[in-house]
Amino acid sequence: MSKLAMWARLKSPWVLHFNSGACNGCDIEVVALLTPRFDVERFGIKLEPSPRHADVLLVTGSVTQQCAERLKRIYDQMPEPKFVVAIGACACSGGVFKGNYNVLNGVDKVIPVNAYIPGCPPKPEAIIDGVVKLLNSLKPEKPAKKEKKK
């Protein structure tokens, strides 16, 4: 993977947000990322309308029965090098709704998940930290590289 392509992929992660049955506490924090106070456009993160354009899929909510199939379809529509971030306790493991009859207890039961952000809801800074950690994990392993955002 040439250095330029990797640099470009890390510097412009386009994001798609899907709420698979959440109490929209996490969703308003995800949308708050676009607003002046947190402004993720600094990192080149843009909210894209269609799954075709997106690289990172932000999923909130413990997947309900009806949303499971839609979530799978959206994940399949996304072009390769795609990543999934599960935001909030519900997306990580079903959270407070774990065990209910209509809930599949977490996003990783349906699609492979690359990063988990616990919290109910996680602070917008925690979401930024999650995405940054996801992007750092993609970097080719440089042993001596000091983790600059320690």
Partner: protein, 330 residues
């Protein structure tokens, strides 16, 4: 054998394709930064100094992504339409004199203003084709809205472009730009204002950005595209903005010609051209952030009931003023 190296260099490198390619990305960066600052946020900052390489990173990332052609799509048109519309616009820009002379040396012929307008219509038509070729209901709606919008707004655009042509007495852009000892924006300000408004519609900027309105038609005609084709679609849109702004500079702001201080005039002309173009881009961006999006029928009534009569009126006003008032004053 010397296959006119200067020609190749001029067309392909300096004011030609490579320069346009990076200049479009620079304009896109300026736009995103201005829009962010107007909305009190920072805009792209961490890719390159001040985020200037952000559009470049976007394009490179898109080129490295997987290219999916949806099943129901019409394969050939789906693949080639974005690239053709991009190349048509680059060809159209190459007629505009950037540093005193057109990019393709001595390529300006009588009436190339109308020829360029026609090229733009064809480029938009190919955009419609790319939307129509992808078998997604949203891109069908986006494509048909694009068709209704730019077909409608081409007519006032051409009529308003005639006003400076009349003042300069010729239809070739080079002579229009050259004969502007006093920029036409002063001679025909009403035509300039209307031209900017029509440009907003032609470039699908905010008051009129129906074809890719997120809340109604998900991605408009770009919904099904990904990877390289999407990069070309985005570049086509940015190139259109540069072309629109360049047209305004040529017709109303006296083209590349401005006071030359010392040394090499072509360099100064080029600098003036870039500065004026950036000014127009900032003005269009300001208008974008100022208004909400209109409904499709409001856009059409605005075009047929308001802009068309106004543009005809402005043409007659320019003719009247040019024949009676200016000879007395000048």
């Amino acid at each position: 054998m010397l296959f006119d190296l200067y020609f190749v260099f001029r067309v392909l490198v300096f004011p030609g394709f490579t320069f346009l390619f990076f200049f479009t990305m620079f304009c896109d960066w300026v736009e995103r930064k201005i829009e962010a600052r107007m909305q009190n946020r920072m805009g792209p900052t961490f890719t390159g100094p001040g985020g200037i390489l952000q559009p470049f990173a976007d394009v490179v990332k898109l080129l490295t992504k997987e290219d999916i052609v949806p099943g129901g799509a019409k394969k050939t048109i789906f693949r080639i339409a974005p690239i053709i519309s991009f190349s048509i616009i680059v060809f159209a820009i190459s007629f505009l004199p950037i540093d005193g002379a057109a990019i393709i040396p001595n390529s300006s012929f009588a009436g190339d203003l109308i020829f360029i307008m026609a090229l733009i219509t064809i480029a938009n038509f190919f955009l419609f084709l790319s939307g129509w070729a992808s078998a997604n209901p949203y891109s069908d709606i986006g494509a048909s809205r694009l068709l209704t919008q730019f077909l409608g707004y081409d007519i006032p655009l051409v009529i308003l472009a005639l006003a400076p042509a009349f003042l300069a007495g010729s239809l070739t852009i080079a002579s229009i730009a050259a004969s502007q000892y006093l920029p036409f924006i002063i001679l025909a300000p009403w035509a300039f204002v209307l031209f900017i408004v029509t440009l907003q519609a032609e470039l699908e900027k905010d008051p009129f950005d129906i074809p890719h309105a997120e809340s109604e038609v998900v991605g408009g005609l770009e919904t099904e595209f990904c990877g390289g084709k999407l990069a070309f679609l985005r570049l086509t849109r940015d190139m259109q903005i540069v072309f629109g702004a360049a047209l305004v500079v040529e017709l109303f702001l006296g083209g590349p010609y401005g006071p030359v201080f010392f040394g090499f005039p072509a360099f100064w002309y080029f600098l003036w051209f870039v500065l004026k173009l950036l000014a127009v881009v900032v003005v269009t961006e300001y208008l974008t952030c100022l208004f909400a999006r209109l409904r499709i029928d409001q856009v059409l009534t605005a075009n047929w009931k308001v802009l068309l009569p106004l543009s005809v009126l402005s043409l007659t006003l320019t003719v009247a003023v040019a024949t009676w008032v200016y000879p007395l004053v000048m």
